[in-house]
Point group: C2
């Protein structure tokens, strides 16, 4: 089985030896203006309302250039400029505040998760304007989910005002799914899914697709627990375990887009068979199924991970031991990733965030035993900040990327 | 122990959220010319002599621009232009061939390896012009090696003609070394080493320092077994085991420069204690010491890895079993890296290259058992092409980078 690149439609890196970035003469002034417009819009998109004075110092441009750029973005309907109430009282001319037009410019963000389907309209600046959710039944493939997602999008679009502009959309797809017979299998994004979404939902607009852990990691990196991190491992646990990797500030997904399949790093060669065909994969030790098994629960026990964590908090021995054991293996595997990648931050999301919150001392102790003393003391371990919305927020970030790269040249459609 | 960033002095990536690449108005025409000069010089540096006609099509610039750029580079003494003998016979005006001036423009490349010290003068285009080598005794730290390296450099400089220009230098440092009592310890590059080299060898010129596996991997990526690869895992075995990672075409070294310490990925939780303080590290299963131990040799047996491989080729049972066992664990660990990083190419260098050459079927079989079926069938496994010169060639590539980024503004010193 060979999937399409997981981040379909996104630009990919080129080999260093081929970095023949020749620039055609003549295009330069336009190129500079485009870059500066993008830098200004990106700043207010990520950091929120910002005064012209702050933009002048943070972007390293002079006042008149900032004024002209902001004026262009106001004219394009992408930002607003207002006098800040707190600023008017000061002496001298008040600095205008530039804000993203969250209500007027939005992306369609979708997620196809292990057990649910979600759709949102997310405004520039990362604000969730509207959101729908429905159940994803076992056995429903990602492509089968397009109809339900399209219904939710159409329902949301009824409330959109005539002057609002949609800049595109993206979908985050969990890379494992449950078949109707209960078995787990791979189910990442592919070109078929992307084409179906473009046909059903985003006529005339680009639609991007990526792995859920990659996209949720991007969201945590841009506006979550890892804001400012240059090298991030975002670990996501649901049915499976996978990672989103930000390296030197950029999301990386590998040659075919399958990078970050850390759930299938073998940590216990004598461990249990994994559904992937191997044995002793990290997922067999820290996945939701492992926690339930160690705690003596059925694989489909009501409440799942949360119930076991509650029981452990109340002192139930089997649950306590299950949490301890999973936390040990969590620290062990994080140590391997720290040694391989040397991140500054590891963010734990989904079920792994809950387990870390309940047993962080155990995780950190095991991490310290296994990871190199040169690397792990400087690693920040954090639980995800954006919770279950990370995938949708990250999908919107993907969709906004084209606008931020060239603010005045992105045609929208309602 | 906290080391300095391993690639001291190199520009590092910035978080995506901070990609505020504002361009100052006015600098544009100069910036375009600089980029185009760099692109042309990089092309002939990597690909060798190239006709103006080929450059026109490969760089996407018109004939007159290529002619002007080549003229500037000739005037600066960086390239030569000649009529190619095979071209003169054709009809029409012959296309000039642009070649890097390997004899006139060079870098000082050094390596501090597990058991030896090497120094070379390497010309533009990657040609080794001169090379010296001496033994590195056990217990000699990287900083202690500076004197011997400086002696070799001074010796080589005596043969340099007055018009030759040195553009800088770099050193590749093996990240493990043997103490005088025989124990292995970390010994990566640090700021002290870099400062000592700048003071002793490169007065007035920048001197870069990096991990040997990173730098050898860069060399294999630019002009070795992984030329054209966008996502490369270069695995190097000597005293230790470490990796150089090229992701989306760029060398990545992690937050503090310690990325790629794959030798300390734990693969066998019940395995042998590792000198790093952990247990069952990959290095304890595939390092040179593991091969010698399995083969019943002493840790410092004469001939080392090569002797065991010869004995295995001649059918000695203990040596054969040792090679098989190391090859199994090699395939196992490569599978983990394939699942985590999804590279297009894995290059095996040092002792691991020799083991792969002797037992590639075993390595590939185990890789296929452990790695995800989505990822491994597309991975190219190769032995290193540049052999023991990879570290020096890669160090020269680091040193040339500044010249290639801005060909006419790099001051040199003889």
């Amino acid at each position: 089985m060979v999937l399409q690149p997981a981040l379909s439609g996104l630009p990919r890196g080129r080999p260093a030896t081929e970095s023949l970035t020749t620039v055609a003469p003549g295009a330069s002034q336009e190129e500079i203006r485009r870059q500066n417009l993008g830098a200004l819009l990106r700043h207010v998109h990520v950091h929120g309302p910002t005064t012209r004075a702050q933009l002048t110092s943070r972007l390293g441009l002079n006042r008149s250039t900032i004024g002209a750029l902001a004026g262009d973005l106001v004219a394009a309907g992408l930002v607003t400029e207002d006098v800040a109430p707190s600023v008017t009282r000061r002496a001298g001319r008040p600095s205008l505040v530039v804000s993203p037009r969250s209500d007027g410019v939005y992306a369609r963000a979708l997620s196809i998760e292990a057990g649910k389907l979600r759709a949102a309209r997310i405004g520039l600046g990362g604000r969730i304007l509207d959101l729908r959710e429905t159940v994803r039944p076992a056995g429903m493939s990602a492509v089968d989910a397009v109809g339900a997602l399209a219904d939710m999008v159409r329902d949301m679009e009824r409330a959109v005002t005539a002057d609002a502009v949609c800049v595109g959309g993206a979908v985050a797809v969990a890379d494992t799914a449950r078949d109707s017979d209960g078995r787990i299998r791979f189910s990442g994004p592919d070109e078929t899914l992307r084409a179906a979404l473009e046909a059903e939902i985003a006529v005339g607009l680009p639609f991007l697709a990526g792995d859920l852990a990659d996209i949720a990691g991007l969201a945590e990196h841009i506006r979550g627990a890892a804001a400012g991190s240059g090298n991030l491992v975002y670990l996501h646990g649901d049915l499976g375990v996978s990672a989103g990797l930000i390296i030197d500030g950029r999301l990386v997904v590998g040659h075919q887009g399958h990078g970050g399949q850390v759930g299938h790093m073998v940590v216990n060669p004598n461990g249990r068979p994994c559904w992937c065909g191997s044995r002793g994969c990290w997922e067999t030790e820290i996945g939701e199924a492992a926690l339930l098994r160690h705690a003596g629960r059925e694989p489909d026990a009501a409440g799942g991970v949360a119930e076991v964590l509650r029981a452990a908090a109340q002192g139930e021995p089997a649950a306590t031991e299950a949490v301890r054991r999973v936390a040990e293996w969590l620290g062990f595997g994080v140590a391997n990733l720290v040694n391989i990648i040397n991140p500054d931050t590891v963010v734990l999301g989904g079920s792994l965030g809950e387990i870390y919150a309940a047993a962080s001392d155990t995780v950190r102790h095991r991490l310290g035993e296994v990871a190199l003393p040169t690397s792990w003391p400087q690693v920040q371990l954090r639980t995800a900040a954006l919770g279950c919305d990370a995938a949708l927020i990250g999908a919107a970030e993907l969709a906004f990327e084209r606008l931020l790269a060239d603010p005045l040249n992105v045609g929208g459609a309602a």
